[in-house]
Amino acid sequence: MAHIPDGVVSFPVLAVGAAVTVAGCAYALKRLPPERIPQAAILSAVFFVASLVHFPVGPSSVHLILNGLTGVILGWAAFPAILIALLLQAVLFGFGGVVVLGVNVMNMAVPAVICGLLFDVLYRRTGDSPRLAALAAGFCGGLGVLLTTLAVALSLGVSGREFLPAAKLIVLTHVPVMVVEAVFTAAAIGLVLRVKPGFIARPGLSPAWERVE
């Protein structure tokens, strides 16, 4: 359950979510060079559509999130990409809600950025091996989902729900999602690194492929 609906979390959580979202988006947009806007839009569209791929697990129903992949490719730019995708999911699909949008963006975009930064570190260490890089990307893809589920459980916990049962339930039901996303992210990044290495290049990061190009 990645999208918290309106009316579940308490006001302080809403306020923190909105503040983190505004700050994250402002910082990301400041850093985002215009020539990477189309790329952010593509990942936003992928994120937007990924939520429709879902399957029943136990008493609940889960869907792909793909925030790990978004973060690995976009880094900080995942913030505005996820904001727009979540806004459209709330308005068009009824997933989550408009009031709670800030909390949902925080719960998905912060893990995305963490995964992106972690992938940068891992990628520098993998040298020139696309296979190791894909493995690192897969790890980040799974980690993104795990962090998001923990963030959702924490949001519910701070809002007065019991934290442990919620966390257990959400994390357990999302284990299949983690596996699927890890494989998907590894495959996608592996393909991108072989076909178009510049696609995941970020300013401030000058790994092997940029020097080669």
Binding site: I37, F48, A50, V53, R161, I170
Partner: protein, 201 residues
């Protein structure tokens, strides 16, 4: 440039392809309707996934709590209405899913006392077998009410499902919005940089 464009198209096609069953939504929903004085309903995520063992509470229009419990293994619940008033049903999952649904007073039989009326006698559930021995006009009316609501129920379920369905045009419209926002952002970003671009290069 053409190769880059082809790559973009391929990614979008892939995104659309993986989301090809757009009828599947991820959101908890409730459907309920009254059959006689009994409100029957179920909580579900989509056509083939019900919300089982999930907390249900039903609140009357007068603020009283009519029913609390959990859904059964088919996601269903049944509530006996004792007054003719709006019943607000809410289902809350441990993982934060939540949905609400209202069964209006108009759906419940006239024989029930209105909200705030005299304390009602325990409502006698009318079993289907009783329909065989229709005698009074009240019994006849109840019988007609029940059979009409039973006939209408699948139709209402279908309408509900249609309303909640995610259509392909929703998905395509959303992607169109994203492309549009990106275009705007790109345009503004370029306008901001234009003074630098006009310098001799």
């Amino acid at each position: 440039m053409i190769r880059r464009f082809a790559f973009v198209i391929a990614v979008i096609a892939l995104a659309l392809g993986t989301g090809s069953p757009p009828a599947l939504a991820h959101k908890m929903k409730i459907f309920a309707s009254a059959t006689g004085a009994t409100i029957l309903g179920y909580a579900y995520f989509n056509a083939d996934s019900r919300a089982v063992q999930t907390k249900v509470s039903v609140r009357g229009a007068d603020g009283s709590t009519v029913f609390t419990g959990v859904t059964d293994d088919k996601g269903q619940f049944a509530v006996q209405a004792t007054r003719r008033m709006d019943h607000h049903i809410s289902v809350i999952g441990d993982d934060g899913h939540m949905a609400t649904f209202t069964v209006t007073a108009a759906e419940l039989p006239d024989s029930l006392p209105p909200a705030g009326g005299a304390a009602p006698a325990p409502a006698a559930a009318v079993p289907a077998a009783a329909a065989a021995t229709v005698v009074g006009s009240d019994d006849l009316r109840n019988f007609i009410d029940q059979s009409v609501s039973r006939q209408l129920r699948p139709l209402r379920e279908q309408i509900d499902a249609y309303q909640e369905k995610i259509w392909l045009h929703d998905v395509i419209g959303g992607i169109g919005y994203i492309v549009g926002v990106a275009g705007l952002a790109f345009g503004f970003a370029n306008r901001r940089r234009r003074p630098q671009v006009t310098e001799p290069s």
